[in-house]
Each structure stands twice: as C-alpha cells, then as structure tokens.
C-alpha cells in the first residue's frame, strides 16, 4: 500500500504535460486539475511579476486555465515544449491586463522604477549557475540586459522600458533586437 501511495504521488508530480493537454482536449477535467496542481503556484508567481498585485495575478491565472482548457487541442510542439506554451499563455494574459491599464484602476501606484528593476534582476540572478542563458545574459551590457529582462519578466513595452531607463524609444528597440541576436548566437 505504501508503495502504491508513493507511486501515486510520483505520478501526480511528474505528469506528462503533453499527455495532460491531449486529455484536456478530449474533455478530461482531471487532466486540467493535474496541470493546475503542478503549475498553478509558479504561474501566479510569473503573473505577479507582471501585474504586481496578487489578486490580479489570480485573475490572470484563472483566465489562463480557461484558455488552456479551450485551446489544448491547438497545442503545437513546434512552438515549444508544453510547459513553455502554458507560461506563454500566462504571460500574454498578464500583459493584456497590463496594457489595458486595468492594473491602475483604483490601485495604489506601484513604485515602478524600484519594483521593475528588482524583478528583472532577481530573475536573472536566480537562473542556475552555469546555464547557457545565464552566462549569455551576463555577456550583455548591463542596460541592454535590463531592457530585455524588463520586457520578458516584467511585461513592459518598449515605451515603458525607454521611460524607466531614460532612453530614446528607438535606442531601446534597437538594443533589444541586437541583444536577442547576440543572446541567441551566444547560446549556440
């Protein structure tokens, strides 16, 4: 019995996301629940970095799961591993909220410069030592690295990054494109 119990636990934590998405596409709610159990807490964390408010982040994740459920049949491995697809949905949904300006409705202003820079840098510092992404990010000039991270981690637009870093919009756009190319070359 003990063996069975631990086996069941293992199965729950090591579900195959690709299979779970296929099951969702077939209408299996338990599969969605399994994805939720495994990814939800991290998803809220990702969304919180963008929308900055816990309750908004839960709204983001709620809508993300509705989208996962409805679009599971569209998952295409060419567009990345299943986990990356899930997180792309979360970040897109969070960015939608951010762009719509809803975050600021009746809400205390987030101390923008402070909060954003910290999130972006903290994310880079938490990458595993020796990982290619970390090493290659460190190879970028610091403001270029920050620009790129502010986009991906904090969900900022070109204009917001330019405003926060006190740089012309065109400069930020060009920097990020070149940084992406440099990063990709470095990672091989």
């Amino acid at each position: 019995m003990v063996g069975e119990a631990s086996g069941a636990t293992m199965a729950a934590t090591t579900i195959d996301l690709k299979e779970a998405l296929a099951a969702c596409a077939a209408g299996d709610r338990a599969a969605l629940r399994a994805i939720y159990e495994r990814e939800c807490a991290a998803m809220i964390g990702v969304a919180t970095r963008i929308v900055k408010r816990r309750e908004l982040a839960e709204e983001v994740v709620q809508e993300a799961f509705v989208r996962i459920w409805r679009n599971a049949h569209r998952y295409n491995p060419e567009l990345g591993p299943p986990r990356a697809w899930l997180y792309a949905i979360v970040r897109n949904q969070a960015i939608n909220i951010l762009r719509s300006g809803r975050r600021e409705d009746l809400v205390d202003e987030v101390p923008e410069d402070v909060a954003s820079a910290v999130e972006a840098h903290a994310a880079a510092e938490r990458l595993p030592e020796g990982q290619a992404l970390r090493r290659c990010l460190e190879g970028l000039e610091v403001r270029r690295r920050t620009s790129l991270l502010m986009a991906y981690v904090d969900g900022f637009s070109h204009g917001e990054i330019a405003g926060r870093l006190g740089l012309p919009l065109g400069t930020v756009k060009a920097w990020i494109r070149r940084s992406l190319i440099q990063l990709r070359e470095c990672m091989g």
Binding site: T48, E55, L56, E59, R91, V107, D108, Y152
Partner: protein, 234 residues
C-alpha cells in the same frame, strides 16, 4: 535562420509586439515552419526565466472559479467571477466609461424626473456607472456637496452568498480609492461620507464585488462590476 527572424520571434515571445504586429506574426507562423521553430526555440530557452518566479500558493477559491468558468463557458452569462478576467482585457473601458455618460443620459433624465431627491438638493456630481465588458449602464451615482452619496442601481446585480457589493470613489491617486459604503443587495442607497473633498468633475466611482463585510484590505480587491467618471450636471 536570419537575424531578423530571430529578433522578430524573440520580440514576439517577450511580448514586445503590438496586438497588430503579433497578429501579423501569427499569420506568418501559420505558414512558415522556420518561424515556428524560431518561436519554439525562444520559448524553450526563456522558460528558465519563468522558473525563477516565486511560487505563490493559490487561494482556495481559485480552482472552483476555474471549474465554474470552463463548465459554463457562457457568451452572455450573468455576472460571475469567472467572467471578469475577460473584462480586464477591454482596453478602452475607462475611456469609454466616461463617454458612456452621454449615451446613458436619457436613462439618467428619466430617473431624475422619476425620483427627485428629497429636499430638492442638487448633486454636484453625477456619474453613470457602466459594465466594463457589455458597457451597459448599471448604476447612477449622485454625489452632494455635503458628503452624501446616493447610488441607484439600474438593473438587478447578482450578489453571491458571502459577498457584498461595495461602492468606491477615487479623487486622487496619491490618496487612493476610498470606500463609500457597502451595498449587500442591489437597491438604491444613500451614504453619508466624511473626510472626502467636495466631489469633482471626472472623479471615479466604481462598484466591486467583495467578501461579505467589505474588502478586508480597505482597497478594492474583487472584480469591477460597474465603473464611471463623474460629471457636473447642468
């Protein structure tokens, strides 16, 4: 793979494209296997950044809300928490809400004639609150110089068990939103407020759904049901 495609795919994955650019890029993805590979490659590599996020335990209500949302998937369902995530997507809501005052003026005129405020006092600010998604007028706020605020719902607003409507106003972002009062059920209610400045043109009013007893934080935490800006009546 060209540098341009690399950079385009990276911008797409990082969320840097405008909605129009993203849509155009997605059309390309449908037709271009190399572009799909470029996106898949960026997503796979940048996933490590998502993995650095702090894990935050979901509140107990989150899964039930998801289940409710996928269970019904309604096009025109009554207000329920599961629907509000979509409201958040509406870019033009607030801008629209202020314009909506004009559209709802007829309703307002009828209402004011039908229900003149006792004592004949004239509100200094009137706001028509509309639903962020459907843009239907849901309530009217009349704010008086002496701090009284009258809220008149224009339609039935479902309030789930254990929840309440709460009316808020914001006149200064430095100060933040302030509670006008609770509305446990959708019916006309007068509130006496104090410590607020005289209501001003463009002052924001909104009704949110909060836990019974009102928002525990003193700030709006629940979904926005109706929102609008005040105008000075002629």
């Amino acid at each position: 793979m060209t540098d341009d495609l690399l950079a385009d795919a990276g911008e797409y994955v990082a969320g840097l494209m405008s909605p129009e650019e993203a849509e155009a890029f997605e059309r390309r993805l449908a037709a271009d296997a190399e572009a799909r590979r470029a996106v898949g490659d960026w997503r796979a590599r940048l996933l490590a950044l998502d993995e650095t996020a702090t894990q935050i335990t979901p509140s107990e209500g989150l899964w039930p809300r998801i289940e409710a949302a996928i269970g019904t998937v309604p096009a025109n369902a009554p207000a329920a928490p599961g629907l509000f995530a979509r409201i958040w997507n509406d870019v033009a809501t607030l801008r629209w809400a202020s314009l909506a005052a004009a559209a709802a003026a007829a309703v307002l005129a009828v209402l004011l004639v039908a229900q003149p405020f006792s004592g004949g006092a004239k509100p200094v600010v009137v706001a028509v609150l509309t639903a962020p998604d459907t843009r239907e007028a849901g309530a009217i706020v009349e704010a008086f110089a002496d701090g009284r605020v009258r809220v008149v719902p224009l339609r039935a607003i479902p309030v789930p068990e254990g929840r309440t409507l709460q009316v808020w106003t914001l006149w200064d972002r430095q100060v933040g939103p302030r509670s006008v009062g609770l509305m446990p059920a959708a019916r006309q209610q007068d509130y006496a407020t104090s410590g607020m400045p005289r209501p001003a043109d463009q002052q924001l009013y909104e009704i949110t759904l909060e836990p019974a007893g009102g928002s525990p934080t003193g700030r709006p935490t629940g979904p926005i049901l109706y929102v609008g800006r005040g105008s000075r009546p002629l």
